[in-house]
Symmetry: C2
Subunit: 172 residues, 2 copies
């Protein structure tokens, strides 16, 4: 799929077909995350691909009851590793959040180009996800996404006009 | 350009031709950022496109002296607005860092598909960038990138194997 078409037609998918994701396609999509750039090329990330039904249901519950998450055949949990990351982006923050977001963005675009749907999940309880997946204390959970074949074609959601978000030469 | 080709062939570009970026192409690349998803579709971002020579030189100095940044005809400074963002990703952090990283990832991929180069800049002093661009105190500077036609073809940088970053069903 053409890159700009992928960016323009990707949607957040909240209904999934009960069809498994072939192993080769799952690998292709994860590979897109693998190729992402990261500060100092540290790659401070780990992706947990969850296919176990019981675990998916628990992750949906940990995501403040967003049940559609467990409907997808795969749930990807994107984790960042601060101690492996560039520590001072802008002089004030660890790069692991940015790095993981870039990688997961690659994954969501690649998924769409393979005919798969995703949905960035921000509303979850890290402590519950940590407990369910056995995530170590020094690793942060950054985002989740279901991954599977869409069973809906959502409308485009609105965006600000370019003039509202782009300024030239100075913040104004 | 095909999406997976874009992901596979994008490189961090640190040498730029002294050729301006046409206005229509700059808009197209910024539009890719505009279309990015964000938590609750809040779009808590602002992009400063800097073409003024003196300002670019000051931004390069604020980026710990990475002079190549000013060589590019445009420098994009990606800012996040915490007070407009989803406040509790995972129950513990504002979404603005993730949101801006997704949008800037869209921009870097779109740039590459238009024949332009970019380079994620993490090493900068936020306070200096804030002063140069007049960024308000309640807005955070997340990343910068030069934007212009590449004057180099860098080798691919190494990545971990998929087995090192993907685990199944549990963190292990």
């Amino acid at each position: 799929m053409d890159l700009m078409d992928a960016i323009k037609t990707r949607r957040s998918i909240r209904r999934y077909k009960q069809v498994p994701v072939p192993e080769a396609i799952l690998k292709e999509v994860l590979n897109a995350a693998r190729l992402a750039p990261s500060a100092d090329n540290a790659q401070p990330w780990k992706f947990v691909a969850v296919r176990d039904e019981e675990t998916k249901l628990r992750l949906a519950a940990a995501s403040n009851g967003q049940k559609f998450i467990a409907q997808a055949p795969v749930v990807v949990v994107a984790c960042g590793i601060p101690e492996e990351a560039f520590p001072t982006v802008g002089g004030y923050m660890s790069s692991h959040v940015i790095d993981v977001a870039i990688a997961l963005d690659h994954l969501t675009l690649a998924a769409h180009s393979c005919g798969l749907g995703t949905c960035w999940i921000a509303s979850f309880k890290e402590e519950k996800v940590r407990e369910i997946l056995n995530v170590p204390e020094d690793v942060r959970v950054i985002a989740l996404t279901p991954l599977g074949y869409p069973d809906e074609v959502p409308e485009r959601t609105p965006r600000k006009n370019l003039e509202e978000l782009v300024v030239y030469d100075r913040y104004q």
